[in-house]
């Protein structure tokens, strides 16, 4: 399958994020930002700008919170 056809989506669980920005500065494609709003615990939280993720997992591994970042891969499914 053509590698370029794959689409990756990082998902941030708003209330598990503490706004430390590790994912923001670790992302090689700079596609994560910090929201100006606060979550229920008073932290600004990260969000995905919607395109450009290459699924490298840097944000996932640099995030100190167990479940704040997940990354999904969407593939062409012919069946």
């Amino acid at each position: 399958m053509d590698r370029k056809k794959k689409k990756f989506t990082p998902v941030i669980t708003v209330n598990e994020c503490k706004g430390c920005e590790r994912c923001v500065y670790s992302c090689p494609k700079k596609v994560l930002r910090l929201e100006n709003k606060l979550n229920s615990y008073g932290y600004r939280y990260a969000f995905y700008i919607g395109e450009g993720c290459i699924g490298c997992g840097s944000c996932f591994y640099t995030c100190p919170e167990p479940g704040a970042v997940s990354i999904y891969e969407e593939t062409e499914d012919n069946t």
Partner: protein, 476 residues
């Protein structure tokens, strides 16, 4: 289009952190903390390597003290710096378990350095994950053994002075110089590249432990943004610019392939033997007297024996515990020694119960047996209302405050004059105890004495006689 999760919360974590009071979906760590980064690597690796059900995670004292909130594996919390000692006990008593000794730089490099270096030198089969964030995080950012020269901390406000505090402790370098350890690597949980190297190192250490190759150490240079008073980003940059040049990130030693899997010496670590030596009261072999009915004790009977060292206080407690055990009660015996070997004070806690014993430490007592003045002064206030006090009236003056049932006898005098050996005074006290408690049969006490002095017929008969004298002499 099919959606597939490629990176998500590792199964080495609990789904929800129910052990954490209050917030059960996130950690207690500060934003950007290196502990969190490392926790994820551990949770992922232990699960991937199929070691979850055999791994014991040791929570040190430090910010990671609550590790057990998060990891879906066995955990144990230990006193400050003692993780490698506890880990040694765990792997030696059960060589099939895998132990992660997780430690900060204060825990490992300062208070616990001896435990750590000795375990490394013995080559225990364990993985030590050493979080070097250059400060004591939990207590507010004090100087650690690994703080850099010139680095400002709470307790080095002008920067670490090498004249005063010496140079930073290079743990990996020291451990790599020992013969036993098989794998030593320093990594950093900073940039994605470094985190990946840390991930690989951690997996290697776990794999070697799984293969029983011995001792591995992985150090993680790690950020503590709050105490370094920087953002997470500036902390990482600071580590890469200042800490890594001082503490080079590299593999110092990797000789696991030259080593055979560790074999535990046969027999020594036999589970039953370990149990026998640790749980002394389990050693007692029930005799014919165990046919006696289980004494009718409601809840726990909590007993304190106290006196001078040398008066046989600890044996008195043991004789009571054994007697209870012989009648199929659950029994615990916990000695407490004064700093002196002889002539100091000694006391022990004994708990008897029909159910499993809770805390073996007796604070509020149902019965106090006191054999000297300081003991009665100290422990009689701990008696519950209506409790029983038995004391040796040769050594003690006591005014009954009226809250408890007080019994006394001239135990030392009886031992000296009637039995001919003052050392039997504890058996005289035992007789008094038997007479007053009544729920435990006299035969059990006699068997307990017989077991205790097995092989010394003369001592046994003297102590049984002392016991009988005690039963006769006790008075209200």
């Amino acid at each position: 289009m099919a959606k597939k999760l490629i990176y998500g919360k590792p199964s080495g974590f609990f789904d929800t952190f129910d052990r954490r009071p209050g917030i059960t979906h996130s950690t207690h760590y500060c934003p950007g903390c290196g502990h969190g980064v490392l926790h994820k690597l551990i949770a992922e690796a232990v699960a991937d390597l199929g070691m979850l059900d055999k791994t014991i995670f040791i929570c040190p004292v430090g910010c990671s003290v609550f590790g057990y909130y998060y990891f879906n594996m066995a955990s144990i919390s230990v006193p400050h710096g003692r993780a490698p000692a506890v880990a040694t006990g765990l792997v030696r008593s059960n060589p099939d378990c895998f132990v992660i000794s997780y430690q900060g730089d204060g825990d490992l490099g300062a208070i616990g350095f001896n435990e750590f270096i000795q375990a490394a030198n013995r080559g225990e089969n364990m993985a030590v994950f050493f979080v070097n964030n250059g400060v004591y995080g939990m207590t507010g950012g004090q100087l650690a053994p690994t703080t850099l020269p010139g680095q400002k901390t709470l307790t080095s406000p002008y920067g670490r002075s090498v004249e005063n505090e010496g140079y930073p402790l290079k743990v990996c370098e020291m451990v790599a110089a020992l013969d036993s350890p098989v794998y030593v690597e320093r990594t950093a949980v900073t940039s994605p590249k470094n985190i990946r190297a840390a991930r690989a190192a951690l997996r290697k250490a776990l794999t070697y432990m799984k293969e029983k190759k011995g001792f591995s150490l992985v150090e993680f240079l790690s950020g503590c943004p709050v105490n370094m008073k920087r953002s997470a980003k500036d902390t990482d940059e600071w580590i890469e610019k200042n800490v890594i040049p001082y503490f080079p990130v590299k593999c110092f030693k990797d000789i696991a392939n030259e080593r055979k899997p560790k074999q535990s010496p046969v027999g020594i670590y036999d589970k039953e033997k370990v149990k026998d030596s640790l749980l002394a009261t389990e050693k007692i072999h029930p005799s014919d007297e165990s046919e006696l009915p289980v004494p009718d004790i409601k809840g726990e009977l909590r007993i304190k024996c106290a006196g001078f060292g040398g008066q046989g206080i600890l044996s008195l407690g043991m004789l009571i515990a054994e007697a209870g055990h012989l009648q199929n009660l659950k029994a615990s015996w916990l000695p407490s020694y004064g700093p002196e070997m002889r002539g100091g004070t000694a006391n022990c806690s004994v708990v008897l119960s029909r159910e499993a014993v809770g805390s073996p430490l007796v604070k509020t007592a149902d019965v106090v047996l006191a054999m000297n003045q300081p003991s009665i002064d100290k422990f009689s206030p701990d008696l519950r209302d209506g409790g029983i006090l038995i004391y040796d009236s040769v050594n003690i003056k006591f005014d009954n405050p009226g809250k408890c049932n007080v019994y006394s006898l001239d135990a030392s005098m009886i031992a000296k004059d009637v039995i001919g050996d003052v050392r039997c005074a504890n058996s005289v006290m035992l007789g008094a105890f038997c007479e007053i408690i009544r729920s435990i049969d006299e035969k059990s006490f006699i068997s307990s004495i017989t077991n205790n002095f097995r092989g010394k017929e003369k001592v046994i008969s003297m102590n049984i006689k002392a016991f009988q004298e005690g039963r006769k002499a006790v008075r209200k």
